[in-house]
């Protein structure tokens, strides 16, 4: 299972060989996660997720009759429709356009593929479950926050799923002068999660990149993972990777997913017992 082969957090994040990032995190540290369900009264299920400053809200409607363009109904399974919008004020700088077009469509289809692995569409044949999300503030890992919000919202809506889906991104960034390294006694090259010495110089694998880190990354991998089942529903890697570093990155992402999964379960549990 992914994540099992990773040594526990303490051994790896030896403070004497820790990379510090812009916001003071170590390479393997995720930002604080906040999850709240039941935030949209009109929806069957809804959730709000914050990954520090990245904020996403998601509402799930259905099973219900599909919207326009869903005339072709399969008799034995239902449809899962995903639509994600990026708010015009979500990014710093100039106001964005209302309809982002291709970027939103691609984002929506990535979320759709990640969720498809878990949603049991055979439980709502001939009908559609709509997952609508809006990114209210984008500061890195919007895809991960959206998938987490969608998972929680689907769960609250009572849509049958094989497991909760969580997602995490890991990027490979070149160490620059802005990332300071505190050298320590034990020269364990792997202590910060896969430092690579190569012709390009040493690189670092960063978990849950913030906006600036994601923009400066050489390569990245996003993993959508079902933690209890131990199955990945989607892996998207960009940039060039060699086998071992990709494996390290995916392991690191899986450990991040475990954290997201725990936060989702905690929020869902407290909403049920409340």
């Amino acid at each position: 299972r992914l994540g099992d082969s990773r040594p526990p957090q303490d051994a790896r994040s030896d403070p004497t060989m820790t990379l510090s990032r812009e916001d003071g995190r170590s390479a393997e540290q995720m930002r604080p996660i906040f999850v709240k369900t039941g935030v949209i009264s009109q929806a069957a299920g809804s959730a709000y997720v914050e990954l520090d400053k990245t904020k996403v809200m998601c509402g799930v409607y259905g099973p219900r009759q599909g919207g326009p363009g869903t005339d072709k109904v399969e008799f034995d399974r239902g449809r899962l429709d995903v639509d994600v919008k990026l708010a015009t004020f979500a990014t710093s700088g100039a106001r964005g356009k209302v309809a982002q077009g291709d970027a939103e469509r691609e984002f929506s289809s990535m979320v759709h593929r990640a969720l498809s692995g878990a949603v049991m569409t055979e439980t709502f044949p001939k009908t559609t479950v709509d997952v609508f999300a809006t990114v209210l503030e984008a500061n890195g890992s919007e895809l991960c926050a959206t998938i987490a919000a969608a998972s929680a919202a689907l769960c609250e809506a009572g849509v049958a799923m094989r497991d909760l889906i969580s997602a995490c991104t890991v990027t490979r960034n070149r160490r620059t002068t802005t990332t300071t390294e505190v050298p320590g006694g034990g020269a364990d090259g792997g202590a910060d999660g896969g430092a690579e010495g190569g012709a390009d110089g040493p690189n670092a694998l960063l978990l849950d990149p913030a906006r600036g880190e994601a923009a400066a990354a050489e390569a990245g991998v996003t993993l959508a993972y079902m933690c209890r089942l131990g199955e990945a529903s989607q892996v998207v890697a960009t940039g060039t990777w060699d086998g071992e570093s990709l494996d390290d990155a995916v392991q690191l992402a899986a450990s991040g997913c475990a954290r997201v999964d725990a936060a989702l379960r905690e929020a869902l549990r407290s909403s049920v017992s409340a």
Binding site: V39, I40, Q42, P68, D83, A87, F89, S92, A133
Partner: protein, 292 residues
């Protein structure tokens, strides 16, 4: 919870939820005839509201408003741009209202919501007609640079009376907005965050908001006036009337009755104005409270 409902002329018992689904008007009329509404409010009572500011870190100003369960978020971004040659000393205010598909069961992606444009124009009207925003106060350098206020209002949860909540959110976001410091040199080039001529000058100024317009929507249903309808009530209503008043001064700055199947008599309209006056202070206080 199930209760016994009788359909006149036919003895049938069914659960309240099923009755509501099949005969929404009969269900609603049963409450109205008793002077109450399904959520327990009397006909003339508006829902409580709450306001929070500074909710979007990426915008210059922002606010989140809840009126009952209706949730609206507004964000203000300021851009420096060239003024219209016919009006060299006036800035711009661009209001965009969005109903993202997640906000209600009836909004779908790809199909623009008909109400969005209406709500945007009403918010704009309210801000100008009450003189809350004066475009002449938005000049940076006359003829060369003026501020354009980009005001985006997103409805996150549509439970009726979005215009009321949207106007409160717009006002709060405008008051929250921090205008970035800019410097225009002799050649007319503008730079953000330039050197302050006076060290005591604050880094960021504020937009002058000279009035506090408040909107209250009333629905007309079978000769009854229902103040601050929620989404279900709006769907059943025959017409709605929105009255906008300025909390500073108590004057009516706008009244709109966009069509509908019912007519509103003069008395009805006067009652709507009275309903607005009744709720004026509470809503203005909710907005002020966010800034304490």
């Amino acid at each position: 919870i199930s209760s016994t409902w009788y359909w006149p002329g036919r003895r049938a018992t069914m659960e309240a939820a099923a009755f509501k689904r099949l005969y929404p008007h009969e269900y609603y009329a049963k409450f109205i005839s008793e002077g109450a509404r399904p959520d327990g409010r009397p006909l003339a009572r508006a829902r409580p509201s709450s306001v929070a500011i500074g909710v979007a870190g990426t915008a210059h100003g922002s606010a989140l408003v809840k009126v009952g369960r209706t949730t609206v978020m507004a964000a203000v971004k300021l851009e420096a741009c060239q003024p219209d040659p016919d009006a060299p000393d006036r800035g711009f205010l661009d209001v965009v209202v969005e109903f993202p598909p997640m906000c209600s069961a009836s909004t779908r992606p790809g199909r623009p919501n008909e109400d969005a444009h209406f709500v945007a124009r009403r918010i704009e009207d309210a801000l100008f007609d009450s003189a809350a925003i004066d475009k002449r106060k938005l000049t940076i350098k006359e003829g060369l640079w003026v501020w354009k206020i980009c005001l985006d209002v997103y409805c996150l949860d549509h439970d009726g009376s979005v215009l009321d909540a949207g106007l409160m959110a717009a006002l709060a976001a405008l008051r929250d907005a921090k205008v970035p410091h800019v410097v225009v040199d002799d050649r007319g080039k503008i730079t953000y965050g330039g050197r302050k001529t006076d060290e005591r000058e604050p880094d960021e100024g504020k937009i002058e908001v000279a009035a506090a317009p408040v909107a209250v929507t009333t629905a007309l249903y079978r000769k009854h006036l229902i103040v601050d309808p929620d989404a279900e009530e709006e769907a059943l209503a025959e017409a709605t009337v929105t009255v906008t008043m300025d909390a500073k001064g108590g004057k009516v700055v706008g009244m709109h009755k966009p069509g509908g199947t019912a007519e509103a008599s003069e008395t009805d309209l006067m009652h709507c104005v009275a309903a607005c006056r009744l709720n004026l202070e509470a809503r203005a206080k909710a907005v002020d409270g966010a800034f304490l």
